[in-house]
Every structure is written in structure tokens, then in C-alpha cells.
């Protein structure tokens, strides 16, 4: 039935707040093809992590999923039992959470953290098989086997990140969600970790959602890019299209703000501030900062529409 491994349909997630609910993910739809690398960028607070957590049904109060559906292959995730959903995590959809510097339990050795993951997914291995499996996983992410017997605090940031990736691929998932996997690392290590991530993803044949801020990194790494603004997906298109011909004014400004070697005129930012999600007014969330906004943008919310093959954008002016 589906050409996609993961399909998000009109997903809406809100956080309750005494001053009014915050709609952190608002009517987002996209789909992920097998083996595809899908990037997701957006300002801080635009709802990227919330979406990742919602896909795994890990939103905790005061947050809740208000509407929408997520399909993994032919399974509707929101109608699964809790236990079935638990079984699907890691085995089918794995996530490396944001802030992976603290994503490992400080009081357990890496080996035990891998063992927990396997044990709770009914992987019964003999001691020798398990040791071999751990060693293989660590090698896959470019770590020496001794790391298995280390505690997280004995590892560098890059090594921790690799250990997290090793855990994430332990059950050969079909989808990997990496939430800002390299934002705490220096550029060189960042590059190495991304290479590792790309390498294991290709080896598993998994699809990847890469969340981040860095357009440059995305340009090198992903096949398709989604741009989020104030909880909404405003543009999704193949990376080449986004870079060469951004359709949404926000995307255009993001691209323009990238430093480049040819243009030495200093950095260009995007004027204005990201909106407070609580008091989003009617119309397009971006219109106060938009250079091409017209009267209609103030009143009508633009819906996501396909404007060309594989390119969709939510803008009245595109």
C-alpha cells in the first residue's frame, strides 16, 4: 500500500498552560520514504523535538497529541496498545534524543544499557552472543570494544553520541530519528559523527529524520528538507530545490542568512523575533517578519500545497 515507511498526517500537539495552550506542532503532514534522509530545520521552539516525541508517542503532560495520525508502514501508531507501541520503539523506530550528552544513564555501563534494550525486546542471547553483538554494534559506530565496559562519564562527547547511535541501531530499526545529534560537538567531531550516522543508516537501509539548525550540514547530508516555523511545516522539498530555489519567504531568508565564500558583505539575519507560540494571531504565523506579506496573509492561514513534483509549501505568495 505505502511507498513510505513513515507518514505523519495532520499531526497536532499542544502543551497546556494556564495562560492558554501552546500548539507546538500544528497540522503537520509529511512522509518518509524508505532509505530517505529527511532533514527538519526550524528556529528553536518551532516544535521539532515535540514532533519527534509525538511520533514515538512519548509526549508527556502537560503536552498531548490533539489530532492527526502517524503511520509506520501499515500500522496506525495512535491506535496501538501501549505495550505494542513500546515494542515498536527501538525495534522499528529508534530515536537519539536531543541533548545526547546526558542521554546515557550515568550509573550503568554502556554494555548494561545495551543489554537493557535487548532484554526488554525479548532478544534472548547467550553471554557470548551478547558480547559479540555489543562489540559489533560498537565497531559499527567506530568505537573500540572496550567502551562497552565504560561508564558514560568516562567517554568524550563524540563517543557518547556514537554510543547512543549504537544503542539506537541495536535492533536494526527501519526509521531513525536523530534530534540534533551533533549540536554539542566541535566541527571536526560533528563531521565524523555525521559520517558514522550516514554510514550505519545506509548499512541498515533505514530512513532517517535528522533534526537540526545547521543549513550547511543539512545541505551536505539530507535528501529532502522540511522547514518548520512556529509549529508548522512551511516547506518541504528536495534539498537541491530548497537551496537553489526556496519557495517560502522564510526559507529564502534562511538561505540568504547562510555565510558564503563569494559574498563577503557580512552576515544577514532575519529581522524580527520568532513568535510567542501562545499568542499566534490569525493568518500566516510568519507575516509580521515577511517581506512579501500582503493583506490576505494577515487573515488566512496558508495550507500546505504541492506546487511542483515533490515540492510543497505553505504560502499564499509562493
Amino acid at each position: 500500500m505505502s511507498a513510505s515507511v513513515l507518514r505523519v498526517e495532520r499531526l497536532r500537539v499542544a502543551y497546556d498552560h494556564p495562560l492558554g495552550a501552546v500548539c507546538a506542532v500544528d497540522d503537520v503532514s509529511f512522509s518518509l520514504r524508505p532509505r530517505e534522509r529527511f532533514g527538519l530545520v526550524g528556529e528553536s521552539g518551532s516544535g521539532k523535538s515535540t514532533m519527534a516525541l509525538a511520533i514515538l508517542r512519548l509526549i508527556k503532560p502537560p503536552g498531548h497529541i490533539e489530532a492527526g495520525a502517524v503511520w509506520f508502514e501499515d500500522t496506525a501508531l495512535f491506535s496501538l496498545t501501549d505495550e505494542a507501541m513500546r515494542g515498536l520503539r527501538l525495534a522499528s523506530i529508534a530515536m537519539v534524543p536531543q541533548g545526547s550528552m546526558n542521554a546515557l544513564n550515568p550509573v550503568l555501563r554502556i554494555r548494561e544499557q545495551i543489554r537493557d534494550a535487548l532484554a526488554d525486546h525479548r532478544e534472548r542471547l547467550s553471554r557470548r552472543e551478547f558480547a559479540a553483538r555489543v562489540c559489533e554494534l560498537l565497531t559499527q559506530v567506530g568505537l573500540p570494544g572496550e567502551v562497552a565496559d565504560k561508564y558514560p562519564h568516562e567517554l568524550s562527547g563524540g563517543m557518547k553520541q556514537r554510543a547512543c547511535i549504537a544503542i539506537a541501531i541495536a535492533l536494526r530499526p527501519k526509521v531513525i530519528i536523530a534530534d540534533e545529534p551533533t549540536s554539542a560537538l566541535d566541527v571536526v567531531v560533528q563531521q565524523q559523527v555525521m559520517e558514522t550516522l550516514g554510514h550505519v543508516q545506509a548499512e541498515l537501509g533505514a530512513a532517517l529524520i535528522l533534526i537540526g539548525h545547521d543549513m550547511g550540514l543539512m545541505a551536505q547530508f539530507v535528501d529532502r528538507l522540511g522547514i518548520m516555523y512556529a509549529g508548522r511545516l512551511v516547506e518541504a522539498a528536495p534539498i537541491g530545490e530548497i537551496i537553489s530555489a526556496p519557495r517560502h519567504p522564510y526559507t529564502r531568508m534562511l538561505i540568504d542568512s547562510l555565510p558564503s565564500l563569494e559574498r563577503k558583505t557580512g552576515l544577514r539575519g532575519i529581522p524580527g523575533l520568532a513568535p510567542l507560540m501562545r499568542d499566534l494571531r490569525s493568518g500566516c504565523a510568519f507575516h509580521p517578519r515577511c517581506r512579501v506579506a500582503e493583506a490576505g496573509c494577515r487573515t488566512r492561514k496558508p495550507a500546505m500545497r504541492d506546487i511542483a513534483d515533490d515540492i510543497s509549501v505553505a504560502c499564499h505568495r509562493a
Binding site: R86, P97, N105, V107, D120
Partner: protein, 334 residues
């Protein structure tokens, strides 16, 4: 490496004991008062007449207690005695030894306060963990207000109220003492039962008051821990919620609790005074109370010394255990 660490920590413990012993020796002597003389004069005046030969008697006692030698000799003798576990004689209860009196009182205190402290810790910690856990049964939420309220009541007040209610009004439990007046201490079922019946009231008031404290602290730590990234990752790993609860949440949240437990255990002896005074319990607190009343100098010194050693020892045990509980604190450091 571990052995070196443990030896070092034990050295620190011995150092604490030595400092305590030295302070214990010199501080009272700085006051310039002669405890034996004071004591004897007091007794004499109580008897209604002042003994003519009191100075002779003082000298005799001083010889026996070694108080006639130069200070440094006294100090060395004192250290020698202490290292042999000898804390001198009780002045008021001569010829009973201080060590003898302390070892007689100690089991009562440890039995009552040690057991209740451990029990409150275990119960409070489990309760606190469950109170913070969203999947815990809903009725548990109702436990929180009473626990808070009990925790806020001073222990002795609750003790008095319970005594009044359970011992005086309802007459279910004995109001006073460690065992019935007529009973002879022996290892028989009857005596053990008698002791337990006497322990219920003090134990209940201690547990009721302290469980809330442990539960509150644990709940706070659990909530902090549950917000950590490694819990999100544990959930994303699809672990059973029981695994997350025990191996990821409790395992981390309990670390500060253990520090609290070690300190609480070390403070048992000093905390015993009030408890034992209220319930007439024959432990170390009651002994200290009695020693102060009787002006029993050596006994006071001996008890204070024991308290310091207990605290030092608790810290030592904690130091040895902690790196094993929390790998981030390594045996090789400091």
C-alpha cells in the same frame, strides 16, 4: 586501587577519632574544675556533713583515676586506654566501667532507633518513588497530605499524643520503659514479646514522623531524575516501565538518599536523648541524661566520644560504599 582508597579513608576515620579523643581529654581540663572533687563534695553535702578527710579521699580517687600525674602522662595513658577500648570508670557508679554501661545501653538504642531509621528510610524511599511515578495507583496521591502533615509535627509532640492515646486512654500499650518492671532480661519468647510491645510506641512515633521526610526527599529527587535526558532515551528505547522505574529512575534518585541515611544512622546516638527521655527507654540517650544529672564526668565523656566515633564510622562506611553506588565518584580520587 580500592584497597588504597579504603585504607586512606580508614586513616581519615582514625584521625577523626584521635581528634575527638584529644578534645575530649583537654576541653574539660581547661575548665580547671576537678570532677572527682566536685562529685565527692556534692555527695558529702547531700549526706548532710562535710567529711574531714575529704581531701585524702580525693587524693585516693585521683590516684586510682590517674589524675595526680602530669598532664602529658595523663594524655598518653588516656590514649593508651582508649585504644584498648577503655573509657575509665563511671564516677557516680564506681566500680562500673563507662564501657560496660555504654555497651549495656547501646543495644536498646540501636535496636529501637537503628531499626526505625532503616525502616523509615526504606518505606519512605519506596513511597516517595511511587508518589512521583505517574503509573503508580491513583489512591497513593491521598497519602501525600498526611505524610506532609506528620512530617511537620515535632516528633516529641506526636510521641506524647500517641502515648496519651494508645497507652493512657486505650491502654493498649505500655507507656514507659524498655520492658516491664518485673521482667528479668532473658532470651525467652515472653521477654522478647514484652520488649517488642514496649518498643511499639516510640517506634511508631519515630517512623510516622520520619517516613514523610524520606518520602518527600525521594519524591523530589525522582521528579528531577524523570526530567533527565536519559529517561527520555530510556523510553525511546522501548524499555518496560518497570525497568525505567527501577534501573533508570530509582537507581539515580536514591544516591542523595543514601548520604542522608548514613548521616541519620550516625546521628542515632545523639538523637536518642529526647526519644528515650519521653518514653523512658533504657538506651544511650537515657544514659547520657542520667550522666548529666549525676554530673558523671567520665560517663559523659565516654558517650560523647562514642557518638563521634559512630558519626565518623558512618561517614567512613558511606565513603567506601558511595563510589560503588555512583561510578562518577571514583575510588582513585583524593
Amino acid at each position: 586501587m580500592h584497597a588504597v582508597y579504603i585504607v586512606k579513608r580508614f586513616g581519615v576515620f582514625l584521625l577523626i577519632v584521635w581528634i575527638a579523643a584529644t578534645l575530649n581529654f583537654f576541653l574539660p581540663r581547661l575548665s580547671g574544675e576537678d570532677p572527682v572533687r566536685t562529685k565527692l563534695l556534692e555527695e558529702a553535702s547531700l549526706g548532710g556533713y562535710v567529711h574531714a578527710g575529704i581531701d585524702n579521699m580525693v587524693r585516693e580517687y585521683q590516684q586510682r583515676f590517674g589524675l595526680d600525674k602530669p598532664l602529658w602522662r595523663q594524655y598518653l595513658t588516656y590514649l593508651g586506654q582508649i585504644s584498648h577500648g577503655d573509657l575509665n570508670y563511671s564516677i557516680a557508679n564506681y566500680p562500673r566501667t563507662v564501657v560496660g554501661m555504654i555497651t549495656e545501653a547501646l543495644p536498646w538504642t540501636i535496636g529501637l532507633l537503628g531499626v526505625t531509621t532503616l525502616f523509615s528510610f526504606a518505606a519512605g524511599t519506596i513511597l516517595g518513588a511511587l508518589l512521583a511515578w505517574p503509573r503508580a495507583p491513583y489512591w497513593m496521591r491521598w497519602l501525600m497530605p498526611p505524610l506532609w502533615a506528620l512530617h511537620a509535627i515535632p516528633f516529641f509532640l506526636l510521641g506524647l499524643v500517641l502515648s496519651w492515646l494508645l497507652a493512657f486512654k486505650l491502654q493498649w500499650l505500655p507507656i514507659f520503659g524498655g520492658y516491664s518492671a518485673g521482667a528479668t532480661p532473658a532470651l525467652s519468647w515472653g521477654f522478647v514479646f514484652d520488649v517488642l510491645r514496649h518498643a511499639v510506641l516510640p517506634a511508631l512515633s519515630i517512623v510516622l514522623v520520619s517516613v514523610g521526610g524520606w518520602a518527600l526527599a525521594m519524591r523530589g529527587m525522582m521528579i528531577t531524575t524523570m526530567g533527565e535526558d536519559y529517561i527520555t532515551f530510556a523510553e525511546a528505547k522501548g524499555l518496560h516501565s518497570a525497568t525505567i522505574f527501577t534501573r533508570y529512575c530509582i537507581r539515580n534518585a536514591i544516591l542523595p538518599q543514601t548520604t542522608g541515611l548514613a548521616l541519620a544512622l550516625g546521628q542515632i546516638l545523639s538523637g536518642a536523648v529526647l526519644v528515650e527521655a519521653i518514653f523512658g527507654y533504657p538506651g544511650i540517650g537515657a544514659l547520657l541524661f542520667q550522666a548529666i544529672e549525676e554530673n558523671d564526668f567520665f560517663l559523659i565523656q565516654g558517650i560523647v566520644f562514642t557518638v563521634i566515633v559512630a558519626l565518623g564510622f558512618a561517614t567512613f562506611v558511606l565513603d567506601v560504599i558511595y563510589p560503588w553506588l555512583d561510578p562518577r565518584i571514583s575510588y582513585s580520587q583524593s
